[in-house]
Symmetry: D3
Subunit: 185 residues, 6 copies
């Protein structure tokens, strides 16, 4: 079940987790390797998926594509192979625009974005690279681009989440499922 | 209930959350402002506390103090006022050593640490500053210092968690409870 | 003939250049936009193509794939959308391994490379990021990995060439041909 | 003929190259060591000199001194001893102002420059240090300072060329001719 | 008399120095370890204390608290354990505001400062991190915030002094007196 | 008497300072502009010259040339035009080797130095760029190169002094005397 040389000496997957993985397989055609990595402990897996599902799939003033764009732009700063591959594929898929996926991976700054999306990604990337320099002026620029404080919360938490996931993935040598590479090209 | 000018237009806190806050008050003598910040949405609050409680208080090969030391060393890189204040107080409290708390805040490298703890913090800080440069050699150094892959998972996830929380806190201008400053000095 | 809003007020392409472009179309199925960008001046176009063709296609102790891997690893440091797209496609094409192309774009460090190729790319990337810190020890490590001084010359000049091209492309807002995105996926 | 411990096992210089070196000797009083470094291969030498001569001596909206100022400011970022020495001497020579040469080597920002030259060097240095952050606004500032898109092309290609040459020089331990140090002081 | 493993093989303290240390003990309740470090040489000790006393205690358009705020903000950039501890305590003491001390140590940017003090600290920190980028515009912003050129001199020399002291302290492994940690909490 | 647009509204120079300047004129053929900058206040001028004269001209295990080499290598990191010009001239003068002066200004790493001097400058430059990363291992490398702790003190204090002076010079727009440029070329 392990996907790298990193070895968690995991027990067999629990019945709950097995059911969850069946649902993934059915819906996505695969069980993302990140979930297999967490599968050694039901509490950790559930904490991770609860947070992920709420952030990326729950109600939000940001579209699902926008949240995935943040995911990839942040992962590009951190150069996380796992997240760039998996979420780059999702951007291609959601947008039906393979070039947009590549732009988020390579350099979001040269993409042809709406002002709203540029301001959103500039904030996410500054928060990733220089969190100690985020000040009221940065929040104010978001508001001027039409984001409510509730939206800024979502930009901040998605940005934060991938700053966490990128580091867990690289620290544990997580490898993306091979299927992602060809997806939605 | 809000603790900064950042405004989430939150509804009154739910009954579940009110009960949780009462328990915090009882146990800690205060409700950490980070929890008040998440209180506008029960799902988000629970996802956050589930992950936090498992990581920082659950079973682990790392002591609770070691996990808090990681929290502060990571927050020092990111210069997060909220987390440095709150978790700096916890390091002082757990260790009964105010100087250790200051060292984690100021520069963990000059603290008088065991080899195990130095290697652990070096990894957490490299993972925070240069995640793209983490390679097998870095994991190997952890193993040579006595950490199992299961322990490295915990170092990685605690490091990841504070890289998330630091960014959520600075993005939303979260402010620590005043009580932390004088705690365990 | 121009490919961006950047405007060189170019004359009609010369007969020589038109012939050269026909040959590109025939061999590659397209005229790379970088060549169209240089087409306003025959001397500049020829100087560029002479250097490029010698470096990337001429005799060398480095395979053509290795030279393209350097091109992409360097362009990844500089986050050059044009070169990452065009040469990322070439790595996929030469290697018949789409994942290798993505790894060069995203983070060459986590790719499964031979010692020779890792040492070569480490040198190219250090030379790109910290040229002032290259010393005899760096050359020595190349030699220990089997490279002759003549090979190091080629690593250095390919690395140098893309540090030039990346900057010309981003300064003039050069855009890759759309065909590259789907190529060899 | 070799000028460092770096060893290309070069054949005797070809008749063409010998003639070219004689012309250098006649015109400059020396054969620049960079040309001796390239002399092991006529194709590479010609590609290099064709590009160099067009860029630095050909027709351009930038004066020859301005192009040399870019050369030195770029080489200062990369701390390339060869190019700083050789092109620092040329700035002193062209400008009859030894202090200007030192300023370009040490910190162009504190030199007493025209607005045009400051804007030009700011662009060259940003393009050298942070190519991925160059956007339309940067080109626009050049235009407002009086540069045409054709001029920006020349700023970009001279900047690019020295980002290449600096790296070839440091990678191969190229050493400047001793004559440069005292020239035009 | 030495306070670290760093060993200066110092002679017994001179009579002059002994008198000076008695005065410190009387006024401050302790002899700062930095003075003990310099005590091996009367000339060095006097040069250091003459400069320090003039800068930090002499007449100035900056209040003593403002000079200490600069000391801590600079030491925070350089992560100097000695100066952060000693001068953090002084900020707490002068301001009667422990939180202000922590803010200077952790991240002065999120402190609730007057425009004057924010502009002053922004200058001190830029001068610490990027001295080569300080230009007339930076001085102009100080003047617009009400500082005279004489005040800017004091901001510059206090900033400079702690950039010196931080480096002497970390290079010689200087350790702060234990008394500082609990002072004015 | 002022040497830049920076305006200290200085009184006429005191009799003591006038005598000191006469001595400078006699010995050096000029009054260094840095001294004129400090001349507005006798206490500040004396504190500066006392420290400078002890550090750079007093008894030490480091030769005067070595101390000047540190001065220039440090000023090169900080890109301080004043100190690079004045102390670059002194290195040329003391060493009778104009190329050594240029190497210290441009990139000390590629100079042909003794192991002792390379280790000394590596320490000075690391202490300048990354003071928070200086640890016992760095001191140990100095000792292995033959430096006593007393010598390390001098390396540290000279390094510290120029980290101070560089910042005072750039903050106050100090300009070197024109005579330095041609000196000892």
């Amino acid at each position: 079940m392990r996907v790298t040389t990193f070895d968690l000496d995991s027990e067999p997957v629990s019945a709950d987790t097995a059911r969850y993985f069946d649902k993934c397989e059915e819906k996505l055609g695969l069980v993302p390797n990140v979930l297999k990595s967490y599968a050694f402990d039901d509490v950790k897996l559930r904490a991770f998926t609860d947070m992920y599902n709420d952030l990326m799939l729950g109600a939000s003033g940001l579209s699902k594509l926008e949240r995935e764009m943040i995911a990839v732009a942040v992962s590009s700063v951190n150069r996380c192979f796992y997240c760039l591959t998996a979420h780059g594929a999702t951007v291609r898929d959601y947008s039906c625009d393979p070039k947009l996926g590549e732009l988020m991976v390579m350099n979001y700054r040269v993409a042809d974005l709406s002002e709203r999306q540029r301001v959103m990604l500039d904030f996410a990337v500054k928060l990733t690279k220089h969190p100690h320099e985020i000040l009221e002026g940065d929040r104010q620029r978001q508001r001027e681009a039409g984001f409510s404080d509730r939206d800024i919360w979502d930009i901040a938490t998605v940005t934060g989440f991938f700053n966490m996931s990128n580091r867990v993935a690289v620290a544990t040598d997580m490898r993306p499922n091979d299927e992602y590479h060809a997806m939605a090209q």
